[in-house]
């Protein structure tokens, strides 16, 4: 058997000093970063009041709660819960639609290929960012102050926080559109509005429709929780039943949410594929 020639270590070292003699800072970077991350984690555990005793006691409680949850049982309030679930779905659908309607014109203002001037675009983008930075639950609290307790506040809260998200997503979709079709409209004598209507919209609408459907799906989840602060829907029932420790009803409500979300997921993914085709998954 032939043997491999002995490697020319010195020659390699002379040719690639960077590989063999890495500076100390480069060698220490990864372990130091890991150490820092672990240190912050440990500090967090201590600061946030974690202790084995609390953990154990909590686990014990949790186990007990789980036992109490079985079997799930709505008691006599099934019709009430079904109505609340319907309310939740309505909130998600209306909120998302409202947000999409308002976000479309604003997203045009935030798109680089429609408004080339940075002076206009920058404030619009920052405005959308700040709306997005505030959680849906906070918007729900604000809207409750304005229109009172109830699902309508929830619709407006979902619409508000989605408005920020849609504005950004839509404007990105518009920026990604092919400019040639717009130029074609301009070459045949179309004005700026016609350029948007016939050049951009046919390209952008399927993408937007896909995103809206996806958001209806994810908003079903958000709509289940805004009831916790009093903005209607199944979250209200859930929070109430947790507060009065009716664990069988709680588990039934959670099951209802799981089933509803799965159903909406299934429907919207079918619709999405029908609209945009299988290849483009948003």
């Amino acid at each position: 058997m032939s043997r491999l020639p002995a490697p020319d270590t010195e020659g390699l070292q002379a040719r690639h000093p960077g590989v063999f003699d890495r500076p100390l800072s480069a060698r220490l970077a990864t372990p130091l970063m890991l150490l820092g991350a672990v240190a912050i984690f440990a500090f967090g555990l201590v600061h946030l009041g974690f202790s084995p005793a609390r953990m154990l006691a909590g686990m014990h409680q949790l186990g007990w709660i789980t036992m109490m949850m079985i079997p799930p049982d709505p008691g006599s309030s099934l019709p009430l819960y079904l109505k609340a679930l319907g309310e939740t779905l309505s909130i998600a659908l209306l909120g998302t639609t409202l947000a999409a309607l308002f976000a479309l014109p604003v997203s045009l203002l935030a798109a680089r290929n429609i408004v080339p001037s940075n002076i206009f675009r920058f404030p619009v983008r920052r405005f959308l960012d700040s709306i997005r930075g505030v959680d849906t639950l906070i918007w729900a609290l604000v809207w409750i102050n304005v229109v009172g307790l109830g699902p309508f506040a929830g619709v407006l809260a979902i619409a508000m926080s989605d408005f920020g998200a849609f504005g950004k997503l839509f404007s990105e979709a518009i920026e990604g559109a092919d400019q040639k079709q717009v130029e074609g409209i301009r070459a045949s004598g179309g004005n700026a509005l016609q350029e948007i209507r016939f050049g951009l919209m046919p390209q952008v609408l399927p993408v937007i429709a896909g995103q809206v459907l996806y958001f209806i799906e994810s908003n079903t989840r958000s709509a289940t929780i805004i009831g916790i602060v009093g903005a209607g829907g199944i979250g209200l029932q859930l929070a109430e039943q947790i507060r009065v420790l009716e664990w069988q009803k709680v588990s039934f409500l959670i099951l209802m949410i799981l089933v509803a979300v799965a159903a909406i997921d299934w429907i919207s993914s079918k619709l999405r594929f029908a609209i945009i085709g299988r290849r483009a998954i948003v």
Binding site: D135, L137, V147, P151, V155, L238
Partner: protein
């Protein structure tokens, strides 16, 4: 310049026109049907959600004036005329914001570690046994679909009020969300290195360590940073149910109509979220180079 346009004989043209008209009409009909179903759904939904346009327009002024009020100090002047008075509680609020970030950090890290342990069991190409894969996947699905604030509500009762419940809720939600993203990433890897390592007689753990990990590490880090960003937002409302962080302060300010405090806390939350967004974006850029992972 004149261009000769060849025109088809009228009979042929009529047939073509007819087909075209039919195709367009069919498409229009389908769109109209879809729109009708959609509007019917909207109508049903607006009845279900008790949409009342009259209340809305009556109180729409309230919305504008609400923002007017939260931007006013108690003495009636605008908030930005006296920053010291506006942000009077900045020490306390910064403390709670720090706690919020810590909650999401600890929650994200522990969730990510557990998701990392579980995801190889859930991915189709690396799962040791099919039944195990199905069990793990269902488990993740439940963790993901139940909103984190619902977990927080339950944990507050089990573990007592305080940030611990928030951390655990975020950790559980993170296991579900990251576990899914991780395992999808593992399903997309190139299997040849795995076969190579397997050929040397390596066991399952060695295969994961020396063939899979190298391909997915960068993507895992990127997703984890993104999840941290999302969790900071989530942690900012954990206080609404008594699970620690800035939410408690905000809830009190909104419920008790401390108007200028509401705007001050909102401003601090928005700024924090911005800083975290930019920070994680920067780290991702440093780690993987711009444009490779978005």
């Amino acid at each position: 310049m004149t261009v000769a346009v060849s025109i088809l004989p009228s009979q042929q043209l009529a047939a073509l026109n007819e087909t075209y008209r039919k195709a367009v009409a069919r498409k229009r009909l389908r769109i109209a049907l879809g729109a009708a179903v959609f509007f019917a759904a909207l109508l049903v939904a607006s009845v279900g959600a008790e949409v009342n346009l009259r209340t809305f327009f009556t109180y729409l002024g309230n919305f504008a004036s609400y923002f007017d009020r939260i931007l006013k100090l108690d003495n009636g002047s605008r908030v930005w005329t006296d920053i010291g008075e506006w942000l009077w509680g900045w020490r306390k609020w910064s403390f709670y914001l720090g706690e919020t970030i810590l909650i999401s950090y600890v929650g994200t890290v522990s969730g990510a570690v557990l998701a990392f342990g579980l995801n190889f069991l859930a991915a189709e190409n690396t799962a040791p046994a099919p039944w195990l894969r199905i069990v793990v996947k269902r488990l993740m699905e439940i963790c993901r679909t139940v909103p984190d604030i619902v977990f927080a509500l339950i944990f507050v009762i089990a573990f007592g009020l305080g940030p611990m419940a928030g951390v655990l809720a975020i950790a559980i939600h993170t296991i579900g969300a990251l576990g899914k993203q991780y395992s999808e990433m593992v399903e997309n890897i190139d299997m040849k290195p795995v076969e190579g390592v397997r050929c040397t007689g390596a066991g399952w753990i060695s295969c994961m360590r020396f063939a899979v990990w190298q391909q997915v590490a960068a993507g895992f880090a990127s997703y984890t940073l993104l999840r941290f960003e999302i969790n900071v937002r989530g942690a900012s409302v954990m206080g609404f149910v008594g699970a620690g962080g800035i939410g408690q302060e905000l809830l009190v300010a909104i419920r008790k109509f401390y108007y200028s405090d509401v705007s001050a806390i909102l401003l601090m939350i928005i700024l924090t979220v911005f800083v975290i967004d930019i920070g994680t974006g920067w780290i991702r850029g440093r780690l993987f180079g711009r444009g490779r992972h978005t």
